[in-house]
Amino acid sequence: MHFWAQVFDWFTTSTNWSGSQGIPQLFWHQLELSAVVVGTALALGGGLGVILGHTGRGGLVAVNAANAFRAVPTLALLTLLAIQPAISLKWNGFLASWLALTALAIPPVLTNTYVGMREVDADVRDAAKAMGLTGSQVLLRVEAPLATPFVMAGVRTAAIEVVATSTLAAYVSFTDLGTYVISGLNTNNTVVAFSGAILVAVMAGMVAGVLGLLTRALTPLPLRRHVRSRLVGTRPGFA
């Protein structure tokens, strides 16, 4: 049978849509892992970025360190963690995947949060202080809303990278859509590998689209045009 017909068959076989190895289940696993990772990265990277950006101290060092960390190949981190006895394949590979992917997701979130905090106009900050806002009020009511588009840009970048890379989690036995790809490649079943790859691409597109809309929704109305023009010219990962 022709390759494309086999792919069509795979997608239309009902058993592939149910059970613990079915498409919905694996799709959900990958989304869940990615969400947990991005959430962790937002808490750690975003939190650190807010603190550094608010105080304006030590930020450059952190941003540079975060960027240097980008060069670390995730496949290496993932496999290295997965063969440590303390981590190994605990929770079916979830632990190793979570840690390795979080390391991947922190740099974009941290960098963008920090940049967003620093981009807040000093005049605006001063005006807020002059109006009697306390430090934490300045942070929550002025800096945070103004930095949101930047933070979200970081979250979107991180999420796209994480969804893409969580495919590799299947290599350390976490079952997600990558399972189709990797087991397909290992067993020379290119139909399954190809179909899995299509599903991964669909998920990546969905996540990129949804987070794009979410970024827009969370950007304060008067800022939308302004931020758009600011983001042009940065690297794609930053916008």
Binding site: N64, T167, V200, A204, V232
Partner: protein, 229 residues
């Protein structure tokens, strides 16, 4: 390779496996440089078109963004049926996908660089009698170079990281060390792969910085667009 215990790092592995590591390193460099070279060759004309003609800009960015968003492993496997899942066919698979990744980064930066060229400079060139093409080649593109270099740096670093994943389609360069280490449950090869790919990224980044200083002597200390990288 006798295993026994699994220390964090064992030097004797590096010395005894050196020829293999060297081969992986060479393949890694080859795969990365070819991808960035082809990506640059494609992206410069496309950027010029996207910059000159608004109509072209939207589709160019749409296609480049789509290529960028598709996960690398998925793209390798999606191309597989056409070009091959195992070497030598998978060389083509890997390169096409890697080039796909560089496009958005390079086009984005090049267009931003061209957009940033002061209108005065171009008008002065035209007033001096430059044809539009001559102005493009001798004024616009040189002035956009700092942005182009910023894009090249990001693209090369990204590609060097992604090449490891091609280990899953029988290539991988240093990715071979990583998958080997994982298969036999041994730290050293993974750390070799990790350290060498970081070192490779750092060395090439320095080379690009050096090349930029030679090519753009007038903007030594400034580095716009993605300069944080």
């Amino acid at each position: 390779m006798p295993l026994g215990t699994n220390p964090f790092f064992r030097w004797s592995y590096v010395t005894s496996q050196w020829s293999q590591i060297q081969g992986d390193l060479v393949q890694h460099i080859e795969l990365s440089l070819i991808a960035v070279a082809i990506g640059t060759a494609i992206s410069i004309p496309l950027s010029v078109l996207a910059w000159r003609y608004r109509v072209v800009r939207t589709p160019v960015f749409a296609v480049a963004s789509a290529l960028y968003i598709i996960p690398s492993l998925a793209l390798f496997v999606i191309l597989g049926p056409l070009t091959g899942f195992v070497p030598p066919g998978s060389y083509k698979t890997a390169e096409i996908a890697l080039v796909g990744y560089t496009l958005l980064i390079l086009i984005w930066n090049t267009v931003a660089g061209l957009d940033a060229v002061p209108a005065d400079a171009r008008e002065a060139a035209i007033a001096l009698g430059y044809s539009p093409t001559a102005a493009l080649v001798r004024v616009d593109l040189p002035l956009a170079l700092p942005y182009v270099f910023a894009g090249l740096r990001v693209a090369l670093a990204t590609v060097i990281g992604l090449v490891t994943v091609t280990a899953l389609i029988g290539l991988g360069g240093l990715g071979q060390q990583i998958t080997y280490g994982f298969t036999i449950g041994y730290n050293t090869p993974i750390i070799v792969g990790l350290v060498f790919s970081i070192a490779l990224a750092a060395v090439f980044d320095l080379l690009l910085v050096g090349a930029q200083r030679l090519a753009v002597p007038w903007s030594r200390s400034r580095n716009p667009a993605g300069g944080e990288n």
